[in-house]
C-alpha cells in the first residue's frame, strides 16, 4: 500500500527529477521571447507562439516532440514538408503591393544588393568550421525573411532550425535599431539630403497582373529549385492584383496566414529543446545571423551610392538599406532617416519600391542558392 502511494507520488515529482539543467534556462528564454513579443511588440505574431512552444518543449516527460506528440505531428506535417512557409508566402504575396517597385524598375537591383550579406556570411560560416549545408542555412538568415530561412533550413540543416528561425525573426524586428547607424556611417550628409521627387503612378493594371506571371516563369526557369517559394508569393500577388478572387485573397492574407503563423510559430518553438539548443554553436549562429543582416544593409547602401553615381545623383543611397526583406520596417527607417537630414524629403515610396524588391530579392537569392547547390551536386 505504502509502496503504491510512494510510486504515485514519485509520478508527480518525475517532471522535476527529470529536469535537465538546460530546461530551466530555455524556459527563461521562452519567457524572454514572450516578453519581447507582448511588452516590446517585437514580431508578436511569431514570438508569442515561438516563446510558448519553447516553454512547452522544455517541460520533461510530456513527450510533445516525440513520435505521436501533438507538436511533433504539427512539425512533421507543416515544417518538414515545407508547407507552412509556402502557405505564408501566399499570404505575403496577397498583402504586398509591388506598385512602387513597378514605378521605378531599376530599384529592383537594390533588392539584389540587399541579399549579398547572405553569401558573404555563408563564406564566413564555412571559415568558422560549419558544414556546407549548415553554412547555407546560416547565410540565409541574411534574407531577413523568416519563411525563406525556415524553408531552406528545414530541408538542409533541420537541427539548426530553432536558432536560425529565432535569429531571422528577432533580427527582422530589430531593423529600426541597427540600420540607422550603418546608414549614417556609409553615407555623407549631402547624400542623405538628396530628394528623389514624387513617385508618379505609371504602371497599368495589366502590368501589375502580368508582373507576377513574368517573375514566376523567368525566375523559375533561372532557378527552378526555388520555384515553390517564388511561385507561392507570386500566386498570392496575382490573386490580389487580378481582383476577381477576393475571397481567396482575403483568406490567404487573413485566415490561412493566421492559422499557419500560429502552427509554424509553435512548432519552431518546439525545436528549442535545451539539450539541442543550448550549445556554443547556437551563439555563433545568432552572431553570424546578425552580421548577415548588417552586411545586407551595408551592401544595399553601397550599391545605392553606386546607383547615385550612375544616375548623376538622382538616387538617394539611403534607399539601398530598404533592399532587404523586412517589409515595411526598413522602408519606414529610410523615410525617417531621410527626413532627419532634409525635412522636405519624402523617400517612403522609393524605399517601399526597394523594400518590395528586397522581398523578391530574398526569395530569388534563396532560389539561386538552391539551384547552384543542385548544379554542384551538393543537394
Amino acid at each position: 500500500m505504502l509502496e503504491a502511494i510512494l510510486s504515485g507520488l514519485n509520478g508527480l515529482v518525475a517532471g522535476f527529477t527529470n529536469l535537465h539543467w538546460s530546461n530551466p534556462i530555455m524556459i527563461i528564454v521562452g519567457l524572454i521571447l514572450l516578453y519581447l513579443g507582448i511588452k516590446k511588440d517585437f514580431e508578436p505574431l511569431l514570438l508569442v507562439p515561438i516563446g510558448f512552444g519553447c516553454i512547452l518543449v522544455n517541460i520533461p516527460l510530456a513527450g510533445l516532440m516525440e513520435e505521436g506528440g501533438f507538436l511533433k505531428i504539427i512539425y512533421d506535417a507543416g515544417v518538414i514538408t515545407e508547407v507552412f512557409p509556402l502557405l505564408i508566402f501566399v499570404g505575403i504575396g496577397a498583402m504586398t503591393d509591388f506598385g512602387p517597385l513597378l514605378e521605378n524598375p531599376k530599384i529592383f537591383l537594390l533588392g539584389a544588393a540587399g541579399q549579398f550579406g547572405i553569401f558573404l556570411t555563408l563564406a564566413l560560416a564555412l571559415v568558422l568550421g560549419f558544414k556546407q549545408l549548415e553554412a547555407v542555412s546560416i547565410g540565409i538568415i541574411g534574407a531577413c525573411d523568416g519563411p525563406t530561412a525556415i524553408y531552406v533550413t528545414s530541408q538542409y540543416a533541420p537541427h539548426l532550425l530553432g536558432a536560425v528561425s529565432v535569429a531571422a525573426y528577432s533580427y527582422m524586428s530589430l531593423v529600426p535599431v541597427f540600420q540607422p547607424p550603418i546608414m549614417r556611417w556609409l553615407t555623407t550628409k549631402e547624400e542623405r539630403k538628396i530628394n528623389m521627387g514624387v513617385v508618379r503612378k505609371s504602371a497599368s493594371k495589366t502590368t501589375k497582373i502580368i508582373f507576377p506571371l513574368v517573375v514566376t516563369v523567368i525566375g523559375g526557369l533561372i532557378a527552378p529549385k526555388g520555384l515553390p517559394l517564388l511561385g507561392t508569393i507570386m500566386l498570392g500577388n496575382l490573386m490580389k492584383e487580378c481582383g476577381v478572387v477576393s475571397r481567396l485573397t482575403k483568406a490567404s492574407e487573413n485566415e490561412i496566414a493566421n492559422i499557419v503563423t500560429l502552427l509554424l510559430g509553435i512548432s519552431i518553438g518546439a525545436t528549442m529543446d535545451g539539450r539541442v539548443f543550448l550549445k556554443y554553436q547556437t551563439l555563433i549562429i545568432l552572431a553570424l545571423g546578425f552580421l548577415a543582416i548588417c552586411l545586407d544593409t551595408a551592401c544595399g547602401v553601397l550599391f545605392g551610392k553606386l546607383m547615385k553615381i550612375l544616375t548623376g545623383g538622382k538616387i538617394n543611397p539611403l534607399i539601398g538599406a530598404a533592399g532587404i526583406s523586412a517589409y515595411p520596417m526598413s522602408a519606414r527607417v529610410v523615410q525617417k532617416e531621410g527626413q532627419r537630414y532634409n525635412p522636405k524629403n519624402y523617400l517612403l515610396m522609393h524605399a517601399m519600391g526597394a523594400n518590395t524588391g528586397g522581398q523578391v530579392g530574398s526569395v530569388m537569392a534563396a532560389a539561386v542558392m538552391l539551384s547552384i547547390l543542385k548544379g554542384m551536386g551538393v543537394i
Partner: protein, 44 residues
C-alpha cells in the same frame, strides 16, 4: 568539393546570379510598362 571552392562559387555565382536575375526582371518590368502603358482613367 572542398570548402574553399564551395564558398567562392557560392559567393560569386550566388551574388552574380541574384543580381543578374533581378536585372533581367527589371528589364521585363520596363518592357511591360511600355507594352501596357498606364492610362489616366485607370486612376479614377
Amino acid at each position: 568539393m572542398d570548402n574553399w571552392t564551395f564558398g567562392i562559387t557560392m559567393v560569386v555565382v550566388g551574388m552574380g546570379g541574384t543580381l543578374l536575375t533581378l536585372w533581367i526582371l527589371s528589364l521585363c518590368m520596363s518592357a511591360l510598362k511600355k507594352i501596357f502603358p498606364y492610362k489616366k482613367e485607370e486612376g479614377n
